[in-house]
């Protein structure tokens, strides 16, 4: 047998360390929860409510992100305009700033006594200490994922396909929906799922804006600080399983990509 090269040996050892580091906590969590953990968690109405709140708020955040972010992604992919580089950088900013800071920044706009908060309160919408606060916190920290995925998806569609549709009698908007969207739906869908999953896992920004009603991540934190580890584990386990399921779905979609990216 061939002697393993030094590179393979060293790199495999180093790589194994980080793989183990990622795997161990997750495995430990699955193993150290009481066997009845999952059933116990799902039997707890507060946990059920928190998880349902996480899912629905993440859904609304993703929907708003899609309606407002996908058009921007198209412009970023197709047009050149002044300030484009600035906007592209700005879209990435929420990924790099600490999330409690994002929460505080949102508070400065949407807090009760700030202009965003006042404007929306006239529409009967309160952000701080209420569900809309959760949604905007999720939107802020996770829309980058959808916008970037959509932009890359649109860039992979040959703009001349849109040109052909135009010469065949379709306006730009129809060409977008009939040609561009069907050819980039995988990227749009995986971007949306990624955004949704990222929104579910958000904690830092949400906890600043809305502690109650509690989403799943806040509930886990709350149980941990008030009752201790054993009380935090069942809802934590539930959230991990849920996140992994979403993630598996996402991988399934991006791996299924056929030739040409079309179905």
């Amino acid at each position: 047998m061939k002697k393993p090269s030094l590179l393979n040996l060293v790199f495999s050892l180093l790589g194994a360390c980080i793989v183990l580091f990622l795997l161990a906590p997750l495995l430990k969590m699955l193993l150290s929860s009481p066997a009845t953990g999952l059933r116990e968690a799902l039997g707890d109405s507060e946990v059920r409510r928190a998880i349902a709140l996480s899912l629905t708020c993440a859904f609304w955040a993703t929907l708003i992100g899609a309606v407002l972010g996908v058009p921007l992604a198209y412009l970023l992919a197709r047009r050149s305009f002044p300030g484009k580089h600035f906007i592209e950088a700005l879209v990435d900013v929420p990924i790099v700033i600490p999330h409690p800071v994002a929460g505080i920044a949102l508070l400065l706009v949407f807090g009760r006594h700030y202009f965003g908060g006042e404007f929306f309160s006239r529409l009967g919408l309160a952000f701080v200490g209420d569900v809309p606060g959760i949604v905007i916190a999720m939107l802020f920290v996770s829309c980058s994922f959808l916008i970037n995925a959509a932009r890359d998806g649109f860039r992979h569609v040959d703009p001349r396909l849109e040109n052909v549709a135009r010469t065949l009698g379709y306006g730009p908007l129809r060409a977008f929906f009939l040609v561009t969207v069907p050819l980039s739906w995988r990227d749009l869908l995986s971007g949306a799922i990624l955004m949704w999953a990222r929104a579910i896992s958000e904690f830092g920004a949400i906890v600043i804006l809305t502690y109650n009603p509690k989403v799943a991540s806040v509930l886990i934190y709350d149980r941990f600080t008030t009752y201790g580890l054993n009380y935090a584990l069942p809802p934590a386990l539930t959230l991990v399983l849920l996140s992994l399921a979403v993630f598996a779905l996402l991988r399934g979609i991006s791996l299924e990509r056929g030739p040409g990216g079309a179905a």
Binding site: L161, V164, T167, G169, G260, A263
Partner: protein, 362 residues
């Protein structure tokens, strides 16, 4: 009809400079130019997917300069066809028929598919089709809505030579049937000759010459053109079968037969694949020059007068006038040494011998 007056357009560092062009109703106009001459850009400007910076574009007497592409009713086909990969062949062809009632649109799809002989493909997916199939589907898609004019961007250049010849014939017969005003751009001069009613040459964003193909080839307006065209001897004429009753292995369209090429004052023996109007191209190095006729039945021997001598050592380019009384210039290239031993001076009479197989019919 397509009319461009002073159309300019800029994209990046490249610019189309005040293009003037008029293409008559039912005309098949070929615009010939090297890669990067601005051919695709010009078509995109006419189709409206790129804006003209200045100038006017008229289609069938309507000024479309400020109209969006969807209002211009122009059929447009890109070099790489760009079929919609998410749609079936049938839906691709029907794509431009959205305003038509469904039954009528279906009938139109069938009709155009029959015309292009792609009925068998209608139910297929686009992925996995051959280049030739994709080309015909893209053509069907462009023609289905009955556009006012047809723009073809290098329609044959992505195909194998064999299929290219076949589809060239197809394009020609299609044009004879539909008489659609067509602007076809290409870098392939043989393709241009085979299809063009009239011809234009585009170079660095400007149209440098237009006219009948043989005129453009025989009298290139610039050194660039002469070089790019690379054909010194081009004759326009008619191919007639020499033995009409003779053996016809004529089932295959590529089978060859003996024929006479009738180019006015000149009559040449040729090997042809089809009868009718054609161009004959002869490479200067395929012409043998002699003082006395070379007797041989398989060869063409023409008598001519030496009109011009151009030396570029070790070769000499000789231009002869043949076919008196109408003077047709023919260019031959020989070595300096041969010229010396032939002892030819300007005005001298000589015989030019050309093998039938050296005459390339297009």
């Amino acid at each position: 009809m397509i009319r461009l007056s002073n159309v300019s357009s800029r994209r990046g560092a490249f610019a189309l400079q005040s293009i003037n062009l008029e293409i008559g109703d039912g005309e098949y106009f070929v615009l010939l130019g090297p890669t990067g001459a601005g051919k695709t850009q010009l078509l995109e400007v006419i189709a409206g997917v790129q804006q003209a910076a200045s100038g006017e574009i008229w289609i069938d007497g309507e000024n479309v300069t400020s109209l969006p592409p969807e209002a211009r009713h122009i059929g447009f086909m890109y070099q790489d066809y760009l079929l919609f990969p998410q749609l079936s062949v049938r839906k691709n062809i029907a794509f431009g028929l959205r305003r038509m009632p469904r039954a009528e649109a279906n009938a139109r799809v069938e009709e155009i598919a029959r015309l292009l002989e792609i009925e068998a493909l209608l139910g297929r997916r686009v992925l996995g089709l051959s280049g030739g199939e994709q080309q015909r589907i893209a053509l069907a898609r462009a023609l289905a809505p009955r556009p006012r004019v047809l723009l073809l961007d290098e329609p044959l250049s992505a195909l194998d030579p064999q299929i290219r010849r076949e589809l060239r014939r197809k394009l020609r017969s299609l044009h004879e049937k539909l008489r659609m005003t067509t602007l076809h751009v290409t870098h392939d001069f043989e393709e241009a000759l085979a299809l063009a009613g009239r011809l234009g040459v585009i170079h660095e964003g400007a149209i440098v010459q237009t006219g009948m193909p043989d005129k453009v080839f025989r009298k290139p307006a610039s050194a660039f053109l002469a070089n790019f065209l690379g054909v010194e001897n081009l004759l326009r004429g008619n191919v007639v079968r020499r033995h009409p009753e003779g053996p016809r292995s004529g089932e295959s369209p590529d089978s060859e037969f003996d024929a006479e090429f009738d180019a006015g004052p000149l009559k040449l023996y040729v090997i042809a694949q089809r009868e009718g109007p054609a161009y004959a191209a002869i490479r200067p190095e395929d012409i043998t020059v002699s003082r006395e006729p070379i007797p041989s039945s398989a060869r063409n021997t023409l008598e001519g007068t030496l009109a011009k001598i151009e030396r570029s050592w070790p070769l000499v380019r000789l231009t002869f006038d043949v076919g008196a009384p109408i003077r047709v210039p023919l260019v031959a290239v020989i070595t300096e040494q041969s010229l010396h031993s032939l002892d030819l001076a300007l005005g001298a009479r000589a015989f030019l011998t050309i093998k039938a197989t050296a005459i390339h019919l297009i």
